[in-house]
């Protein structure tokens, strides 16, 4: 097992944003956490990255306890996060953005190979190498941050809402790229999404998170019809299920 989030509870002040959440990711898997706004998805990812510290529970990455480790060391362990809202460095140009994460790598020749690979994957980034990253469109910025994360050569990439604010066509492209990466270089992915439809298609396994707690976990194949997911997502109990007329 590559990543094991074991029973973590995270507080903002007195408020628990996440309670007793456990997530596991195996090497080469795509795991999805879906849940409505405010469910604690981003909190979970930020805790894995070391931005937040859990008040309880542990995070283990390739058999090392990384709970409470600072973010730069987590990154150096091989977890690269693409946070919500993309966070490109708008004042740096595209190439500087891409290369910033390679500073912690020591394999010079490999860095250049990976760099070329990213440019092949996203030709638009190559065309705009010298432009300030702030000038890119939303979709291009999403490509840039995925490329930037890839260049750290992560063993696990976590992505927070890659489809946020993007046109459906571009979202398709993003997921195409992510699935392709898994198939080609065996990249392990932990994706967080609000809409579970797209995530269900790409993922091997999914977790549904609501109100800071895991409501449902399972193989994506078993949950494909979506009924159980819907139930977990909206929190309908058996009795009131049929009152819900919400389109998924």
């Amino acid at each position: 097992m590559l990543l094991k989030v074991d029973n973590i509870t995270v507080h903002y002040g007195r408020l628990a944003a996440v309670r007793n959440v456990s997530v596991e990711v195996n090497e080469g898997e795509i795991v999805c956490i879906v849940g409505p706004n405010g469910a604690g998805k981003s909190t979970t990812l930020l805790t894995i990255s070391g931005i937040l510290s859990p008040t309880e529970g542990t995070v283990t990455f390739s058999d090392r306890n990384i709970t409470g480790m600072n973010p730069e060391n987590v990154a150096r362990m091989g977890i690269s996060q693409v946070p919500e809202g993309r966070h490109v460095f708008t004042s740096l140009n595209v190439e500087e953005n891409l290369r910033i994460g390679t500073r912690m790598r020591r394999d010079r020749a490999e860095i250049e190979r990976d760099f070329q690979m990213v440019l092949e994957m996203f030709p638009v980034l190559g065309e705009r190498k010298r432009q300030p990253a702030g000038k890119l469109s939303g979709g291009e910025q999403q490509m840039l941050v995925i490329g930037r994360a890839l260049l750290t050569r992560p063993r696990l990439m976590t992505i927070d809402e890659p489809s946020l604010g993007l046109a459906p066509k571009i979202v398709d492209r993003v997921y195409e790229v992510l699935t392709d990466l898994r198939n080609r270089i065996g990249l392990t992915l932990l994706i967080v999404e609000q809409s579970s439809e797209r995530a269900l298609k790409a993922a091997d396994r999914i977790h549904v998170l609501r109100s800071g707690q895991i409501q449902l976990s399972g193989n994506a194949a078993d949950l494909r019809d979506g009924e159980k997911v819907k139930q977990a997502y909206f929190g309908f109990t058996e009795g009131v299920k049929h009152e819900g007329e919400v389109a998924f």
Partner: protein
């Protein structure tokens, strides 16, 4: 004509000193969101580092008698060391505190340094000539004599600015600093070490402070325990005028403040000339209201809006 040239050179050299000091404040604000009130005291310490720490009324020359290159290096090293110690003892434990708490912390540091100087060197002003030949050499331009020092100050500032730009644009450390200044958390998630970047900012800021203290000392020839405070105050408002968090803004702001004060000094009628600083500080409030992001809009600020 000659008089106007004199005013221009004075304005530029004063603006240069403010710009250098403002850059020192701006660098730290960029990565740490710290308004370092102690920056002026780093400048003061740079001047006091030149003499033997003794309580007596006279300055006993120490580093001041070294040959110029060694003198400059030693002063920079002393101030860098003091800045790094302050970072480690005070600002590192306070890193996740609010901007206001950090500000109070730097205020306290400033207070401690000033009074340490009183304890060690005494509170009385001392005179110390540094590179007095710089003020003695003069060029005759038309009918006016122009001293070498103000021209040198402008030149040194330009060179340092160029070096700083090259550092920030061309070196990996510089790129890391820019990234951290824009989005500290994201930079850390890409493996940029927080302690390293912050220490680097303190080193650069302190080195700039040391250069300012040498230029200022050469200009004034006097040591006072609060000599850096006015420089800090004007440099601080320069960073506000230029736009907090923008290094270009710090330079523009420093130059603006220097030029505005020199021009007001020369141009205001005698009866209101004394109120010059009132206008300069009033300008700050005006700019805060009309253009809170400063004259130069920093990209980080734009992001947040």
């Amino acid at each position: 004509m000659g008089y106007i040239l004199q005013v221009i050179i004075d304005a530029l050299s004063l603006g240069s000193l403010y710009a250098l000091a403002a850059l020192g404040i701006g660098l730290l604000f960029g990565v740490l969101r710290l308004i370092n009130f102690a920056h002026g005291d780093f400048i003061t310490l740079g001047a006091y580092a030149l003499i033997v720490p003794a309580y007596g009324p006279n300055a006993i020359r120490f580093i001041a008698d070294f040959p110029a290159p060694l003198l400059i290096i030693c002063t920079i090293l002393v101030i860098v060391a003091i800045a790094l110690i302050s970072e480690f003892l005070i600002f590192r434990p306070l890193r996740y505190a609010t901007a206001a708490t950090l500000m109070v912390g730097s205020f306290a540091l400033s207070f401690v340094i000033q009074n340490l100087i009183i304890m060690i060197y005494s509170g009385r002003p001392k005179s110390l000539n540094l590179w007095s030949e710089l003020t003695e050499i003069k060029f005759l331009v038309g009918d006016v004599e122009i001293a070498l020092l103000p021209i040198l100050i402008v030149a040194v500032t330009l060179i340092l600015l160029l070096l700083l730009v090259l550092f920030l644009k061309r070196t990996p450390w510089g790129v890391q600093m820019r990234a951290a200044a824009e989005d500290f958390k994201m930079a850390r998630m890409l493996g940029v070490r927080a302690n390293f970047v912050i220490s680097l900012a303190f080193v650069l800021s302190a080195a700039l402070a040391a250069v300012v203290s040498l230029l200022f000392e050469a200009q004034t020839g006097i040591l006072m325990f609060r000599m850096g405070t006015p420089l800090m105050v004007f440099a601080f408002i320069a960073t506000v005028i230029g736009g907090m968090g923008s290094l270009v803004g710090s330079v523009v702001g420093g130059m603006t403040v220097g030029i505005v004060s020199s021009v007001l000094q020369a141009g205001l009628p005698a009866e209101v000339r004394g109120y010059r600083d009132v206008f300069v500080f009033g300008l700050v409030i005006l700019i805060l209201l009309v253009r809170p992001q400063g004259l130069v809009l920093s990209r980080a600020a734009r992001e947040r809006v």
